[in-house]
């Protein structure tokens, strides 16, 4: 027990000494760690923003079914439409169904024209040419096919399922590409980061093979040789992570403002983003530091 305590004290002390003694190496490794962690965090944030944006857009995807528009039969058609809406809403893949009446459709159309600064020509109309419609929102926009089918089958009520196929397909392709692309990029950057940090630590350890050699010959057990280096690697990782978090904290104000201003249009839900970033940065820093040291020392021990 005492022995173990002594061992830990020894390892931590030696690890810290190593940091101080190998100034250049420590600096190089820590700086590399910092930059790589920033890169990783940056990519991760962009990826998270992208994912949130994509999700938001997907939520907006809806199937619109224009209903038959027979003058005089409005009453009975409305009843049938409401029944259909209830049927559709019962499907598990449907998030919500909204019935848009003819009047509401015209009001929306006018709004849109006004918003876009286009000329409102509806004043010249003698009757409302817009049909009533059902707007169906989906849980997963890729599963639109069965719902479109159902709506088209009710041809007594439904006049036309508006352009939904092409639109949804395009959108899901785009968002899928963005999602996958972002993830692939994140993984790639992650590998680059891992590789470069491990490499830097390895170089730092190579420069101290003499020390390992002497420890071996003097009768130090593997644990006594390995752990100081591992602690040293862990310290480098934590230092780099702390520095990276500090930079992120300082930068987060302006960046958030900017992002917020830029993406104002999308009310994105970032949820536990902050906690995730801290975990990512600290975890990667620590993990890579320890892993790098472990690997580097191992090749000198197994002789």
């Amino acid at each position: 027990m005492f022995g173990f305590l002594r061992f830990v004290t020894f390892s931590v002390t030696r690890g810290l000494q190593g940091l101080r003694r190998n100034g250049l190496m420590t600096l190089a490794a820590t700086a590399t760690m910092l930059l790589m962690l920033l890169l990783l965090a940056g990519f991760w944030l962009v990826q998270a923003g992208l994912a949130a944006g994509v999700q938001y857009v997907e939520q907006k995807v809806e199937i619109v079914a224009d209903l038959h528009d027979v003058a005089g039969a409005e009453g009975s058609l409305t009843v049938q439409a409401v029944a259909l809406a209830a049927d559709v809403a019962a499907l598990p893949s449907v998030r919500s169904v909204a019935y848009v009446s003819k009047e509401e459709a015209l009001a929306r159309f006018r709004d849109r024209l006004r918003q876009r600064g286009q000329v409102d020509l509806t004043g010249f109309l003698d009757r409302n040419p817009l049909p009533a419609s059902l707007e169906v929102k989906l849980v997963d926009p890729r599963e639109y096919q069965p719902i479109v089918q159902l709506l088209q089958d009710r041809s007594r009520v439904v006049d036309d399922v508006v352009e939904v196929q092409k639109l949804v397909q395009q959108l899901t392709t785009v968002t899928g590409v963005l999602r996958t692309g972002g993830f692939v990029l994140l993984v790639l950057v992650g590998f680059v980061v891992l590789f470069i940090i491990v490499n830097t630590i390895r170089l730092a350890v190579v420069a101290r093979r003499e020390e390992i050699e002497v420890m071996r010959l003097v009768g130090a057990s593997d644990a006594f040789i390995r752990w100081p280096f591992i602690f040293e690697g862990a310290f480098v990782g934590l230092l780099g992570a702390a520095a990276a978090l500090a930079v992120l904290a300082v930068a987060s104000g302006p960046v958030t403002d900017f992002m917020y201003g830029f993406f104002r249009i999308l009310p994105l839900e970032f949820g536990s983003l902050q906690r995730d970033v801290v975990l990512l940065v600290v975890g990667t820093g620590l993990g890579v530091g320890v892993l790098g040291s472990w690997l580097s020392v191992r090749s000198y021990l197994t002789r």
């Binding site: 004290t9 010959l217 057990s221």
Partner: protein
């Protein structure tokens, strides 16, 4: 070190005939035994050929022979830094080739070794280099400091304790290496050319010290070219030549003086 008086070998000698008489056979339980040991390095150099040797507990033995004869190789086998190509090296009754890797550090801790090239860590002070051997083997903090101070005093390096090896003279570096080998009070001391960079005065002092330690029952094996010392002490001398033991008897550096 500052007194130019010369300690004459004869005046300093403690003949202790029981050690001197130990001879080839190793009267006491053998601490080290080599049986039919051959060592061929990967590049084909045969550094040792069919060496038989046994050191009894408490013996004081010189290993001599021309440059490249295989002295350092023999010492490296004893700490399992190298493994023999043929034959077996037995330390404390155990065949080193059969000791699992995990147990090797334990064995090495019983041995104090002075390397021919010192193997000091350039970024650590003299004191830290000596303390290193204790720290990395898990010695309690409180015992390290006094042991290190004692070892440094014994080799006359008290004043240089806080210098780094690259700022030491050659002899000071060698004495640091010696202090490190002594500091954990090993039962077997192996010294590879421990006086090559030392003036005759300090060489003699170091040997006096080793003799005193030997009297406490520690086995000592010294590879050296220092003919004067070897010849004056008239201890057991093992002579290697081209990897073979060509002589093993009490006497001087050369067969006939």
């Amino acid at each position: 070190m500052t007194t130019p008086t010369i300690l004459r070998p004869a005046a300093a000698l403690d003949p202790s005939p029981d050690h001197a008489a130990a001879g080839t056979s190793g009267v006491a339980r053998p601490v080290v035994a080599l049986r039919g040991v051959g060592k061929v390095y990967p590049n084909g150099t045969a550094a040792l050929r069919d060496v038989d040797l046994s050191l009894g507990e408490g013996e004081f033995v010189f290993l001599v022979g021309p440059s490249g004869a295989g002295k350092s190789t023999l010492l490296k086998l004893l700490i399992r830094d190298e493994l023999p190509t043929t034959g077996e090296v037995i330390l404390d009754g155990r065949d080193l080739a059969r000791v699992p890797r995990r147990k090797v550090p334990e064995l090495r801790r019983k041995i104090g070794i002075v390397f021919q090239d010192f193997k000091l860590l350039p970024a650590r002070s003299v004191r830290e280099n000596v303390a290193f051997a204790l720290e990395v083997t898990g010695t309690p903090r409180g015992r390290i400091r006094p042991a290190v101070d004692r070892a440094l005093a014994v080799v006359g390096l008290g004043a240089q304790a806080d210098q780094l090896p690259p700022t030491l003279s050659g002899g000071e570096q060698q004495r640091t290496a010696i202090a490190r080998a002594l500091v954990h009070e090993p039962r077997l001391i192996i010294a590879d050319e421990p006086t090559g960079n030392l003036d005759p005065l300090i060489s003699w002092e170091i040997l006096q010290l080793l003799l005193r330690i030997n009297e406490l029952g520690v086995t000592i094996l010294i590879a050296t070219h220092n003919a004067g010392v070897v010849t004056a002490l008239r201890r057991r001398v093992v002579a290697l030549e081209e990897g073979r033991v060509v002589r093993d008897e009490v006497g001087g550096y050369h067969r006939d003086d």
